[in-house]
Every structure is written in C-alpha cells, then in structure tokens.
Amino acid sequence: MLLDSLVYKNGLKDVHPGEKLIFALITMCIGFIPNIYCDGLIILLMAAIIIIKGEIPPKIYLHLIFLPLAFLGMSILPIVINFGASAEQSLVHFPFFQTTIGVTYGGLKQAGFLSARSMALVSCLYFISLTTPILDLIALLKKLNVPGVLLDLMLLIYRQLFVVLDTAEKIYTAQNARLGYVNFKSSLNSMGKLLSYLITKSFSDSKRLYTALVSRGYDGELKVLDSNYRFSVKNLLIIAAIDTALFVIALKTGGSFK
C-alpha cells in the first residue's frame, strides 16, 4: 500500500507510460545478451533512474532489490554446488560417498553471470512497476486493444482491493480492541469471523456499487476517460541513445560466460 502511494508520487509519473514500457522492454531484451558488464550497467542505470529521476527513497529500493535475492540465492545453490569435482577445480570440496561434493570455480562463475542477468531483468521490471501507476498500464492496454472485459475486471479488482483491505483493517482493530487476538485459539476464531464477514460484506457492497453504477447509466461497459499523455521526442531520443549504447557495450565488451 505504501508502494502504491509512492508510485503515484514518483517523479516520472507524467511521462507517457508507453515510453516507459518501451524503455523497460528494450533494455530487458539487451539484458538477455550474455554480458556481465552490460548486466551490471543495467542494474546501476535502473537504480539510478528509479532513485534520482523517480524519486523513490533509496532505502525502499534497496529493500525491494533484496527481495528477489532470497529466491535467487536458493535457485543458484544447485549451480554452485557440484558433484565429482577435482581439488584444483574447486574452492572447497568434501568426500561424499564414492564421489566428492564441492563448490567449483566454474560453478561460481556461472552463478555470478546468472545472478547478474536475473537482477538486470528484475531491475527493468521494478522500473516499470515503480514509475507507472497500474491505472496508466490499464489505459495503455486499452490502447493496445486488450478486450474490455479484462480491463474492466482489472480496474474493479484494483479499486476493490483497497476497499476490502480497508474494511478488513477496521474489523481487525475492532476485534483487537475487544481482545479478539489474545491467544492462538481466539485469534483463529476472530480471523475466521473476519473472513466470513468480509465475504458477506463484499457481496452486499457489490450490489450497492451496481445500483450506484446503474443510476449513472451503466449499460454493461465501464466507460471511463483516460488522461492523455503525449509522446515526447526528447524522451524517445534519450531512450534510443541509452539502449543503443547498452547494445553496443553488450556486443563489444564480450563479458560472456564461455
């Protein structure tokens, strides 16, 4: 929720969402070229843009960047740890039944390349999600002719998410104030009641929302007017320059694995 409000205040909010999406997608494609220097550059570049231009607090961005690292750590374990490696290939190794188990230099190197590439791609995704409000993305999808039913659903779910969370929070506070969560048993009981109440409440609220929509002439399609963004030539040129530079670096510096 904090993130959501940060996104609405970010410094790149008024930039055309299409430009941001193009930038992120092209940079992601470049990130697929195996080149560790380029990956590192993308990570730093995205961090710089998000923090300096997007005005997202560095502390929060660091925190966000560490989230996927936990998953990454677990998934590179099998790459780092190898069986049957000889002593001169390995950083550490132990005998393991008939064979050996250890961390090889090759495995480490491969893991490093893989992590750099994953983090570069994750940075691009963070760029999109931290600088583009969801509603702008939905508006963009509408321009790309995504079916209206899907977009209506996205819009309603996004909006109702906050309404439901808000209600849940209020009920939780009310229950907590009457010692609803003093021990494990009462917590389970209270949580169950909270959830069942949320369902019935959501149901009656949806009826009311429908009534309110009908009274404003709803006829099966949620028509809303999106704000108009204009493509800026300057931004497009900057994007082209950055991505060309990255592309050249990716091809010429040759920091690939093999």
Binding site: P133, L135, L213, G217, V224
Partner: protein
C-alpha cells in the same frame, strides 16, 4: 409541465426477501423547492429515492416524474437517469474507478457524449464540487470528505435537473457539513432541484423549503418546516425532536420577548432580537 417534479400514487414496494419497504406512499414534491425527507432508519427513504431514478420498479402504484409516469424501458430509463442523479450515502460503494477524473467521466460517457464534451463537463463538475486539484489522484488515497465530493461531481457531470442526496451529512465533520450545505444552496440557486434525506432536524428546519416525513413505509406528513415542527403529535410519532432554534423561539415567544416571525438560523434569531 407539472407543478410537481415527483409524485407517487399508492406506491408499494417489496424487496425479494419479502420485506415491505413502501406501503402505499402518496406524496408530491414541489418543483424548485428544497425538499428534505425525514424519517427513522428503515423507514423507506432510500427505497423511495431508488424509485425516483427508476432503479426499483414499484410492486404496485405509480411514480410520476414531471407529470409523466415513469416507463420502465431502456430508452426512458436512460432519459430519466440523465435527469435525476442520486448521490448515495457511502462513497466507497459508489466509486469504482481508479482516478478521480475517470470516476467523474463515467456518467457523461454513458450519455453518449463526445470525449471533448465529456472532458469539459468533468472539469466543470470538479470545479463546482471543489475537487479540481484532485483530478489525477487515485480514488483510494482520498479522505472521506473528498470521496463524498467526488461522488457529487460524478453526478453533477451528468448535468441532471434533479439531484437526490441520501444522507449527505452522515459522518461529515462540521466544517465539511457547512461546505456541503453551501454547495447545495449554490446548486439550488443555479436552478437544480435538490432533494435530500437526513436525520438532522436542525438542518432540515434551517435548510428546507418543504419537509416530508416517512415512517414504516408510509407518508406521515408533508409541509413547510413551520407546519411540521409546530405539530407535536407528528414529531412524537416520527420520534423526532424539535429543532433547538424553534425550541428557544417558543420559550422567547411565550415570555413575550419575540414577535411572530420564526427565525431560520442563529443569525436570523440574533437579528430579530
């Protein structure tokens, strides 16, 4: 052209769970008069309002808008909803869109207007409702009072003749209450018909030209505030208290300290004294 904006004739309504919400209401709301509907919770105020905009169809009886009986086909309903807007009590069950601008653009778009005209109307409505600077804000980051005003803008943008407010002052702090009442008066002066429901007798007494009291799905009494609040029997039946100002006035009148003219506001009272 009729003298009355709305008339109901033996209007009955029963909800699908067979609760009888309206039990034969006969009433008429005069054109151009600020009208307040009073009555305890569950009296049928909201149900009545939903009939005015064609959302609910009477079980029996008739509803007349501007002298013509409401017809329940698509074309007529669309026309009716264009002319009669309802601002519901809880903004959270009314706002569906992400940004304020989107939310307010919903109604006019449904009227089939061109984008440019919609934009113009949205901006005008946002200014009138005092939320122009919030246009690009996401709706879930608004305060309660702001949401309420966005709902009003959403209805204003459709430029209806009649705006019905279902308990507009509920949960509002005194400051926002005052702002809301001021904007209601501005709307009234610009020629809109305003109908509201409330529990606040002081508000009804000071603001309304006409008062309608509903109890148990029936009309108890309608008339000017002076008539209604002078009738102790009706007030007792409807569990309503006398407005404080009127109470003070009556005491002063008994003691011979004030003339026949009843004050409608504190300023009024001070002026008379």
């Amino acid at each position: 052209m009729s003298q009355y904006i709305f008339e109901t004739c033996e209007l009955e309504y029963e909800y699908p769970d067979s609760t009888k919400a309206l039990k034969g209401i006969n009433l008429a709301i005069e054109k151009g008069k600020k009208t307040a509907v009073l009555g305890p919770n569950g009296a049928g105020k909201s149900t009545l309002f939903l009939h005015f905009n064609g959302i609910l169809k009477p079980k029996s009886g008739r509803v007349l808008f501007d002298g013509r009986e409401i017809e329940y086909n698509r074309r007529h309903l669309m026309e009716l909803r264009k002319n009669v807007g309802i601002v519901f009590q809880d903004p959270d069950t009314q706002i569906f869109a992400g940004t304020v601008f989107q939310e307010v653009s919903f109604g006019p778009l449904n009227l089939g207007l061109k984008d440019d005209e919609v934009k113009e109307r949205v901006e005008k409505a946002l200014i009138t409702a005092g939320v122009y600077d919030l246009a690009q804000k996401p709706t879930h980051l608004l305060s309660y009072g702001q949401k309420k005003r966005v709902c009003i803008a959403g209805v204003l943008a459709m430029e209806p003749e009649v705006i019905i407010f279902d308990e507009p002052t509920a949960y509002l702090d005194p400051k926002h209450c005052r702002i809301l009442l001021e904007s209601l008066n501005v709307l009234h002066q610009s020629g809109k018909q305003i109908i509201l429901s409330t529990h606040d007798v002081n508000l009804a007494y000071g603001w309304a030209d006409n008062i309608i009291i509903i109890k148990d799905g029936k009309l108890l009494k309608s008339g000017t505030p002076e008539e209604i609040f002078a009738n102790d029997e009706v007030l007792k039946q409807a569990d309503l208290q006398k407005p404080m100002l009127l109470e003070v006035y009556e005491v002063l009148f008994e003691k011979g300290l004030i003339g026949k003219r009843q004050p409608k506001s504190i300023e009024d009272l001070k002026y008379i004294l």
